[in-house]
């Protein structure tokens, strides 16, 4: 399965007469854009804004972030099972509007989360301050059932990304990167002198605002399964996870998973990257036991010698991590864990909600607890008052002048469990 990603570098985004890309400038016909993403009868109106890196702009509360892509050659379409049909994706060619992201903004529940500053100290913590963000903030029918509300917002973001991605269909990309995912027997034998390494990709799957979709299937109901990393790049994984701003894996991060990128980079040099297993993170302990058993079994059958595992979200997925760790190590597969930590504001408490002796190799992507002060921004897209009831915010977190005080966990993507973040921790 070979996928060419054609990156079209976007340097600016403006509203204009037509939605098009010319010489790195993306113009958006606002009315057409809004019409394309507002087909649900519960959408009363949509505010669309552009937030550029370096601007004095705050987006809050953010839900998902999505990169605009379009399938230009090969089977299927972006977001299979959700916006495209169920055809298997991950081969052919996909064009990417590089440097642009759709950000969905809006309140689903009274408590909300996800602050994204485009400049200032907050911008340093988030990967999304480097993209030109097209923010969509809908007003929906009053009193909608919450699951329905979340779904409308999620679908709106995906539709927005597909609408924008479409303009890249006939544009010659600035760069083409090819990713190959070979049949198992070839992959295993490709570099016989290098360790066979795989990636265990845990997906949040627990209920309202805590879900992930695999080809449109609720991840709660999957057994661990193989997926081609190129399928992930074509949108086979969609985030419905709106909680824990800092460590949720947005759809954008699924599309650009840095562990997958790094494994490709090391493929043939230090490792033989043989595959990816996705597994869920359910609430019931029996599900965690079943999933970790199954992942370890799959990995062993494929002859993995080493693996990297990442988690999504906070708390109980630590148990998924540790169960996977025991079982993979139990089969002789060396495991490295990538995760964020919550050891308190001073970093002195226990970092995880579960531990095991086998967890002896861990990459930390940062502590979510320390407080940061975010100075006021000239423009706020969304609802600034959310900061008082944000995850990582607290009563009184919003000052009269617009200054916000939050724990790092309130900042979008700041401690993302797949390591797209800008933080880490070192032992001294």
């Amino acid at each position: 399965m070979k996928l060419e990603l054609g990156n079209i570098n976007i340097n600016d985004v403006q509203f204009g007469e037509e939605t098009a890309v010319n010489g790195g400038l993306l113009t958006i016909n606002k009315d057409e854009f809004i019409a394309a993403i507002s087909d649900d009868p519960n959408i009363l109106s949509v505010e669309v804004d552009i937030a550029r890196p370096g601007e004095s702009v705050r987006l809050i509360p953010c839900k998902d972030v999505i990169e605009p892509r379009v399938k230009v050659d090969g089977p299927g379409g972006i977001f299979p099972g959700v916006l495209a049909d169920e055809t298997i994706v991950g081969s052919g060619r996909t064009h990417v509007l590089k440097g642009v992201a759709v950000v969905t903004v809006g309140r689903v529940l009274g408590f909300q989360e996800g602050v994204l500053d485009m400049s200032g100290p907050g911008a340093r913590y988030t990967p999304y301050s480097s993209t030109i963000n097209v923010a969509v903030n809908p007003e929906l029918t009053e009193g909608l059932e919450k699951h329905h509300h979340e779904e409308i917002l999620r679908m709106m973001g995906l539709k927005a990304a597909v609408y924008l991605g479409e303009v890249g269909r006939d544009v010659e990309p600035d760069e083409i990167v090819t990713y190959d995912h070979k049949p198992l027997i070839d992959a295993v034998n490709e570099y016989p002198d290098l360790p066979r390494v795989g990636y265990v990709y845990l997906l949040q799957s627990q209920g309202l605002l805590h879900d992930t979709w695999v080809y449109g299937v609720d991840a709660k109901n999957i057994l661990p399964t193989l997926i081609s990393p190129t399928e992930v790049m074509d949108g086979a994984l969609v985030s419905g996870n709106c909680v824990a701003a800092s460590d949720k894996v947005s759809t954008f991060i699924h599309q650009n998973n840095p562990i997958i990128e790094d494994l490709y980079r090391e493929h043939g040099k230090s490792v033989n990257f043989v595959g990816v297993i996705i597994a869920n993170e359910n609430v019931v302990l029996a599900d965690k036991i079943r999933s970790s058993n199954y992942t370890a079994e799959l990995a062993a059958r494929m002859g993995w010698q080493g693996a990297i595992i990442s988690e999504e979200g906070y708390g109980n997925p630590d148990t998924d991590l540790m169960m996977h760790c025991d079982k993979l190590e139990g089969k002789g597969i060396k495991l490295v864990i990538v995760t964020d930590e919550y050891p308190g504001r001073d970093g002195a408490s226990q970092s995880f909600a579960d531990v095991t002796d086998n967890a002896d190799a861990l990459v930390s992507v940062g502590n979510g607890n320390p407080l940061v002060t975010l100075p006021p921004m000239e423009k706020v897209i969304g609802h600034a008052e959310s900061m008082n009831t944000i995850v990582g915010g607290f009563d009184g977190a919003l000052k009269e002048d617009g200054t916000m005080i939050t724990e790092i966990q309130g900042i979008m993507g700041a401690t993302s469990g797949v390591g797209i973040t800008r933080m880490s921790a070192r032992a001294y």
Binding site: G207, P343, D354, T389, F394
Partner: protein, 134 residues
């Protein structure tokens, strides 16, 4: 059929269980998050097994003042794995006591209802994975 106990301080959870009348589920309603922890700990020491993870969901403990935990109704010898998972989870609850206001009078009713709903949804997702009969 396996039977379960839900320890909760969530009034919406209580109402939903009473409405649905699941034969396999007994409710143990307590007042506070600390009571949920204490009651669950006592039950584990009495031989009940943890069925759902005590830290369901990514909304942080204490930030969400409501919590529901599913245990087995059946008891046996102390299940060390349940105890181990539970005690590690509780250490994280203590971390978040420094982050959040635990005075519920400072929360609006809408906010409290939303936190209740999140807890209900997480435990519903757990119940949907268990074999329950009406």
């Amino acid at each position: 059929m396996d039977k379960y106990v839900i320890v909760t301080n969530n009034p919406m959870r209580k109402a939903r269980i009473e409405e649905t009348q699941l034969e396999a589920v007994r409710l143990k309603f307590v007042n506070t998050l600390d009571d949920v922890i204490q009651t669950t700990r006592d039950m584990i020491h009495s031989g009940h097994r943890l069925i759902s993870h005590p830290l369901a969901g990514s909304v942080k403990p204490v930030e969400n003042p409501y919590r529901s935990i599913i245990l087995s109704e059946e008891t046996g010898p102390l299940d060390y794995e349940s105890l181990r998972i539970f005690e590690h989870a509780v250490s994280q609850v203590n971390v978040f006591k420094q982050s959040y206001e635990s005075d519920l009078t400072r929360y609006s009713q809408t906010l409290l209802t939303d936190y209740q709903l999140i807890d209900v949804s997480l435990i519903d997702s757990a119940l949907s994975r268990l074999k329950l009969k009406r």
